[in-house]
């Protein structure tokens, strides 16, 4: 049987994503009921570049499902140090693991592994290319505060030009019903044409502005992003743009009562710490949702039935 993979968000239909989010919510409500569903299964967690946060999230997800984890978080200790190709590693590891999670600095590595592995492969980040479980985490966060992903105005603020995970979140959200976007960024960091082209093709409404103050009142969701130093050629440009948008208590006064503020973390200074105590600030909860959505994903890809839905 051909294995199912998650390499990019579009590998799953909206109906499948909704099913997975519902499963994640059931797990949150009754984690004990799921604590042995993956008993006897092994997850191989292959981190060719370190990302402690993401690795912990996947490993804990598998352990909480009753499964076990093998892998590495430092490629210098693995067989790649002996020169084995990623393609060969995928095949050999899939001989003893039931599911593979891979993070790699090169773009397209997860797809390459999925072609050679004899088990499901999850992309845990391939360079700046795709990071689909971050997108799923964002979606689970949204449905934990909003009745469903529908009829929402989503503001995306900060570095919209280089943030590939933001592009994949936007193009994924755009597939849901009646989602509108407000892109808030300085001119230098505007949403790239390829994303806007896609939205135009789908008939999705969006506006672009450089004012967070003026647009915050219309939003149901505000997604803040990091402005990363390494994206800039000159230090001057970076310093000028880094503080362009900082979310403060003052700005939050103009936001709706039920707006939520999201951020992929870690933050630099895009959100003033004074905002953390605002109940609309949900970014620290996202970490928890990340683990639950990965539990639902692992179950889905392994074809494990929900014990509560039999």
């Amino acid at each position: 049987m051909e294995s199912r993979h998650l390499l990019q968000p579009s590998d799953f239909s909206i109906a499948e994503i909704n099913d997975m989010l519902r499963l994640a919510k059931r797990i949150i409500q009754n984690p004990i009921a799921y604590s042995e569903v993956c008993k006897g299964k092994v997850l191989a967690s292959l981190f060719y570049e370190p990302s402690t946060r993401t690795k912990f999230s996947f490993d804990t997800a598998m352990l909480r499902l009753g499964g076990q984890v093998i892998g590495f978080s430092d490629p210098t200790t693995s067989s790649t140090a002996k020169g084995e190709t990623v393609a060969d590693s995928a095949l050999t590891i899939s001989k003893y693991a039931d599911i593979i999670v891979v993070r790699h600095p090169k773009e397209g590595t997860a797809r390459l592994m999925s072609k050679h592995a004899e088990c499901p492969v999850i992309n845990a980040g391939d360079g700046g290319h795709m990071h689909p479980t971050q997108t799923l985490t964002d979606l689970l966060t949204i449905v934990s505060y909003k009745p469903e992903i529908k009829d929402l105005t989503v503001g995306v603020c900060g570095d919209l030009k280089f943030g590939r995970t933001i592009h994949s979140l936007v193009t994924c959200l755009a597939r849901f019903e009646n989602i509108r976007f407000v892109f808030i960024s300085p001119d230098e960091l505007k949403m790239p044409v390829y994303v806007k082209d896609e939205l135009n093709k789908m008939g999705v409404e969006y506006t672009e502005t450089s004012s967070l103050d003026e647009s915050i009142g219309s939003l149901d969701i505000l997604y803040m992003s990091r402005v990363q130093r390494e994206r800039f050629i000159s230090e001057e440009d970076y310093l000028r743009l880094k503080d362009y948008f900082i979310l403060t208590k003052e700005k939050m006064k103009h936001a709706k009562e039920d707006m939520i503020v999201m951020h992929p973390l870690p933050r630099v200074n895009e959100i003033a710490t004074e905002v953390d105590s605002d109940p609309r600030a949900v970014y620290f909860h996202q970490v928890k949702y990340g683990m639950y959505v990965r539990m639902a994903l692992i179950m889905t890809l392994l074809g494990i039935k929900d014990p509560l839905c039999e």
Partner: protein, 140 residues
């Protein structure tokens, strides 16, 4: 003007955008043929001002995908007994394998040798193709 004898049997690739003739010559590996091959550059053209032109004096399986990728405006004419027998119109293929390589230095295809990488057409006008692994766009 150099006089090139009229072709008896073979293929004429005409209306090549001036300057692209050599690239086509190379990509079709015409230097490996034993037959007579003529590459003419910067020929006066009523339509295009200047053009390149290639004559090949043998029948040959031409890789039309390569041609379409480099210069889709060319006309390919097959000649038999000095008569034009077939004209081929080119369209850029929807998928290309083994012709392009990914130019994205961060792509896994540039770290590990991968056979038969697929590229899908994303912009017919600009002849842009996206790598199946990293989605970066490239052209020939």
């Amino acid at each position: 003007m150099i006089n090139v004898s009229k072709l008896k049997k073979g293929i004429v690739i005409d209306h090549i955008t001036a300057g692209k003739g050599y690239k086509i010559f190379r990509q079709l590996n015409l230097d490996e043929l034993d037959a007579v091959v003529v590459l003419m550059r910067n020929v006066d053209s009523a339509k295009k001002g200047k053009k390149d032109l290639i004559k090949i004096e043998t029948d040959l399986q031409i890789n039309f995908d390569v041609l379409a990728l480099i210069d889709p405006g060319v006309t390919v004419t097959y000649v038999l007994d000095g008569e034009k027998v077939k004209k081929v119109k080119l369209t850029p293929p929807n998928e290309v394998i083994d012709i392009l390589s990914c130019k994205n230095p961060r792509c896994i295809t540039n770290q590990e040798h991968i056979e038969h990488v697929h590229f899908r057409l994303v912009n017919a006008e600009k002849k842009l193709y996206a790598c199946e692994f990293c989605d970066a766009q490239t052209s020939l």
